[in-house]
């Protein structure tokens, strides 16, 4: 991998240049408490230090709602609505969210790729950014706190700028036009990065790894945690909508008023909604709140073979944004028997 150095001043210049070439999205502060990826007009608005965005980056590739087809009902013809947007850059993606996108790749781009997702993914440039954890983060026990793949460039904070890892050919191409912005990595930068990583790992509230958690989840399917915690759940779906790796969707046809034409729309669904498993009859494959709750705990802790991590990347959003204050991390610790929780 190629490593280069970019000073803080040059980083702003680089972002300015990127903005002229492609649509630039980056984390900004959207309220007292919250951050979100937004389109950048003024590069001074970019937040380099943020914990987590309210919405995960997946929506740039897989929007909350999209028209898949327009159709003619008489002719029974579908007119594809695959995205035509140009190139775009998402700057400032934390390691866990980069892994999140790779997990979605594994789901959407297989032998029968989802064309909507794939086309956007081909047009999207990912630039990572280093971060420090808060008490909600547990990416380290998920082994997603550092990434080797899934980004074009990755910016690591050093004393006077960034040590940048170049991840792809696309990443090289981004830097090629601006040799004046790129410097050599110094011994000082490497030492800084080492100190940063050490400080970072000491800040995580958990240590070790949770690789065996999925087996405990499976062996303890009747654990009392589920009943106790699902009682509190409001079934609002926030935990899944904010999750960087949740990807369930529902589909509906919306006909025009005369019924002659219409649109087939897909929109994010949540396994925490009662309707998720409801079929004709009416029969529900996950009829109780507890069964839906349990499903999320199993699904998020399943193993993604392509990325070799759990589907949950430990970003902490589902806990941070749960209105019922259900603590996913703590509940998992209880099932896994980690660090004394639940004993």
């Amino acid at each position: 991998m190629r490593y280069i150095k970019m000073t803080t001043a040059n980083t702003y210049k680089f972002l300015e240049n990127l903005k002229d070439e492609a649509t630039l999205y980056a984390p900004t502060k959207i309220s007292e408490q919250f951050y979100d990826f937004t389109e950048i007009d003024d590069v001074d608005d970019v937040e380099f230090h943020y914990n987590r965005t309210i919405r995960p980056p997946r929506r740039f590739f897989y929007p909350e709602e999209e028209t898949m087809f327009r159709f003619d009902t008489d002719k029974v013809e579908l007119y594809e609505n695959t995205p035509r947007e140009g190139r775009f850059v998402i700057f400032g993606v934390h390691a866990c969210d980069v892994v999140g996108l790779r997990i979605l790749d594994a789901e959407f781009i297989d032998e029968q790729p989802d064309p909507y997702y794939k086309m956007r993914r081909d047009n999207g440039i990912i630039i990572g950014l280093s971060c420090l954890p808060d008490e909600y983060c547990f990416c380290n026990v998920r082994r997603t706190e550092f990434v080797d793949k899934g980004f074009d460039l990755f910016f690591h904070e050093v004393a006077d700028g960034y040590l940048v890892r170049v991840g792809t050919v696309q990443g090289h191409k981004l830097l090629d036009p601006y040799p004046e912005l790129v410097g050599e990595v110094t011994q000082e930068d490497i030492d800084y990065m080492e100190d940063f990583e050490e400080k970072r790992s000491s800040m995580y509230t958990l240590q070790g790894n949770w690789d065996s958690l999925r087996y405990f989840l499976e062996m303890r399917l009747d654990h009392p945690m589920y009943e106790r915690e699902s009682e509190k759940c409001l079934g609002c779906g926030n935990c899944t909508l904010t999750c960087p790796t949740c990807r369930c969707y529902d589909v509906k046809d919306v006909p025009s008023i005369d019924g002659k034409t219409g649109e087939r729309i897909r929109f994010w669904d949540s396994c925490q909604f009662r309707s998720h498993g409801l079929v004709a009859g009416p029969h529900n494959f996950r009829p109780t709140k507890e069964s839906r709750f349990k499903n999320r705990y199993q699904c998020k802790n399943a193993y993604c073979e392509e990325v070799t991590t759990a589907y949950c990347v430990g970003c902490g959003r589902c806990t941070y944004f749960c209105p019922a204050e259900i603590n996913f991390k703590r509940n998992l610790m209880e099932i896994g028997g980690y660090q004394g929780v639940g004993d």
Binding site: V76, E80, P115, R247, Y249, V251, F285, C299
Partner: protein
């Protein structure tokens, strides 16, 4: 379709050629792809399903119930169960619908060769199993004795009842027995009771027989026990399952089932599963 890249969610035009009433709520539909090339090239395996679209109303997964060998057309047996299916029931011959697929794994028919065959259907179960049965008839020399247990709550819900009975009289039907039973219809002058109570009437060699079942999942547990007790080989016991489905190709997440270390999509890993899959994947049935 405008783009060069194939869109997995794209659906092809199919014309409804005729319909046939099977029961008060079930109808048989005969379809043909409008594009002659597509009609000729469409192939499927018994147990696979298609997604049927009525544009403006939505899409539903439906098993193909005709013989995989008959090229150019296919049949679906559809129960009037809700929004889309009731609209399908009101279609007149000549109407166009959208079809995509076939999807799913289907029954591993090669594993069925040179063995006896037992088909157990309850309710709508005969729909996918009919294509298994027709496969066996089309390749009669590859199968030993065949028994079908077909059940329903009421006699008028016994799907393909007449067709199955008519089969008895054709040459290829030699060594085929058909057991039809009802659970809630005292007026029926045939067999009464659940499928497992009629295992004595089954004319197959359990050790060398493949069992394929389709019905409501609660039936499967009892059936598994019954089969194991009677010495059927668990490697040759198959069931087909249902879940809510939206995409049919493993993307929408609706049909996902299982736990953290063993989970499957019913749409692409199934809908056909074996006895040992069921042991491995909690919640499958």
């Amino acid at each position: 379709m405008t783009s060069e890249q194939e869109n997995v969610y794209d659906t092809s035009k199919c014309r409804l050629l005729r319909t046939y009433d099977l029961s008060e709520v079930d109808k048989l539909f005969l379809f043909r792809f409008e594009d002659p090339e597509k009609a000729q090239n469409f192939r499927f395996k018994p147990g696979q399903f298609v997604e049927v679209s009525l544009l403006g109303l939505g899409e539903v997964p439906i098993s193909i119930c005709s013989s995989a060998r008959r090229v150019g057309f296919f049949e679906l047996c559809i129960r009037n169960a809700g929004r889309v299916t009731s609209a399908i029931h009101h279609l007149n011959p000549g109407t166009l619908v959208g079809i995509r697929g076939p999807y799913g794994n289907g029954f591993p028919m090669e594993k069925f060769h040179d063995r006896d065959l037992l088909l157990v259907a309850a309710g709508l179960g005969m729909a996918p199993l009919r294509s298994v049965f027709l496969y066996a008839l089309d390749n009669r020399w590859l199968f030993g004795d065949i028994t079908i247990i077909n059940s329903a709550k009421y006699a008028n819900g016994l799907l393909f009842q007449k067709e199955l009975e008519a089969m008895k009289d054709i040459a290829t039907a030699e060594n085929i027995s058909i057991v039809q039973t009802v659970t809630r219809d005292p007026d029926f002058d045939g067999l009464h009771g659940r499928v497992n109570t009629h295992f004595d009437k089954v004319n197959v060699d359990p050790e060398n027989c493949t069992v394929a079942m389709c019905g409501p999942p609660p039936m499967y547990k009892g059936m598994f026990e019954e089969c194991i007790e009677r010495g059927y080989d668990p490697r040759y016991i198959f069931v087909t399952l249902e879940r809510k489905m939206k995409c049919g190709v493993g993307k929408c997440g609706h049909c996902n089932v299982g736990t953290a270390t063993s989970w499957k999509y019913i749409c692409k890993d199934g809908p056909v599963f074996g006895y040992y899959d069921v042991l491995d994947i909690p919640g499958l049935i």
